[in-house]
Symmetry: C2
Subunit: 246 residues, 2 copies
DNA sequence: CGTCGGTTTGAGTAGGTTCAAGAGAAGTGG
DNA sequence: CCACTTCTCTTGAACCTACTCAAACCGACG
């Protein structure tokens, strides 16, 4: 699956700067010891399959991934995007099987950590233990925020939510007010619970309202205040309401 | 908040049978040591407020709770229901603040565990450590399943999802084919991302189709196969489709 | 240069919402 | 115990958002 046979390299300096801030200094060296740097992955590469045995955690170094949830019948939906510095595969701790398909959105690089090794290390290091808990919990509250988004927001609000959230989470381009969109409109729609056409319509509306500048792979935020107003459902200011439904 | 001053009792035998199966035997006694049984809570009691300091984990012993996610502007949505044997407050590990309001749906009983104590115990017990990780991860994949439900299903599918899921998760009444509904139609609608009217219409349709028997506080499942067919989106068999949107 | 996937825009439709009003159930106080 | 209030539940009718279907456009790549 992830042919780690010949390409085992210790990427200590490579990923060190990419580790989440909460990882304690005391274990960074130990983590580097057990890390395996995978060769570059092409667009569309499936890093993990739903249901496959949960043997390693992944850390994104470059590129971007989508996490796809599969339904019983063949339906599927994207439940999150992963950018450099984020872990992938955390859901595996539940059933010791991956909970999603993890697919590269473009040329990407990741390194992997053996689950057993991480668990063993966490036993000895209280800080890493706390860090793991914190990370899982953070993912959980993110997922629940997404539940709120999917269940209670209109199309325009969903898009404003995505753009503002992406910007504050550092998924933005270096200039600070552009957001990168490594995924297709269809993928974005899947994540937001709408069709690709609806995604395009909302983005177009935002562009016509001079709130954003739209490129194929990035969105430049021009008027953050207006976006926030739309997110909060500023009445009469735009089509589509869906207020109420407490 | 939770006046634990005078009512400190050690409910060892009270909650022991209610602990999740994954809690290792070796720590049940220690957990019992630090548990505090709270006095009975009335319907509507708010056990935890969003943003309050995360000091204790709760375990439901009797009754039922809803976990409410708050939006910035005052909106809110229910992101989950908790029944006896389930922990509440796990999201607190992220920011050391509760991520939801936890509200009793009816007369309920819970016991609480100090977070610091649980963490300390988990340091010493590898099994409890694994158990905590597993529990958090399980909540995470549940939340992601709900994302799928909210983003990709029609009203009828959502209801089928809820009923089938409730039955297999043991939220059902003792007879095994009835599902208890401790929440109002409005609360159920909030969780499923629909209005109370839509909830009622779908339930009525299921009743007319002889798939379920409906009471105010419980639903009796008469034809599970049909429910499953509706969940998978059996075409032409019922109004509302929304297939496609991969 | 032609094909193919991703994108964009338009017209029509339908599933779910909103609004309104009545039927039940539950709690309150005399 | 019964009237009274109050809340939840239920049903109907009109409306509207977002989906579906269809067709044109664009860029990438062989």
């Amino acid at each position: 699956m992830t042919d780690s046979a010949q390409s085992r390299r210790r990427p200590a300096s490579t990923f060190d700067g990419r580790l989440p801030a909460c990882v304690p200094d005391s274990v960074r060296a130990d983590l580097a010891q057990m890390a395996v740097l995978l060769p570059d992955l092409p667009k569309g590469h499936v890093l993990a399959h739903t249901g496959a045995r949960f043997r390693q955690l992944f850390l994104v170094l470059r590129g971007a991934f989508k996490a796809t949830q599969l339904g019983e019948d063949g339906q599927s939906q994207i439940v999150g995007f992963r950018r450099p510095g984020e872990f992938m595969g955390l859901g595996g701790f539940a059933e010791h099987r991956y909970a999603h398909d993890l697919v590269a959105l473009g040329p990407s690089q990741v390194c992997e950590f053996p689950v057993a090794g991480v668990e063993a290390l966490a036993q000895r290091s209280p800080h890493l233990f706390d860090c793991l808990l914190e990370h899982l919990a953070r993912r959980l509250v993110d997922a629940e925020r997404d539940q709120f988004m999917l269940g209670s927001m209109s199309g325009t609000q969903k898009m404003a939510y995505f753009l503002l959230r992406a910007r504050e989470r550092g998924l933005s381009a270096p200039d600070g007010c552009s957001v990168e969109l490594p995924m297709s409109r269809k993928d974005l729609g899947s994540y937001l619970g709408m069709t690709k056409e609806s995604v395009i319509r909302v983005l177009s509306l935002m562009r016509r309202s001079a709130m954003v500048d739209i490129g194929r792979q990035q969105v430049r935020i021009l008027d953050e205040q207006a976006l926030r107003a739309w997110l909060d459902g500023e009445p009469e200011a735009f089509p589509q309401s869906r207020r109420g439904r407490t």
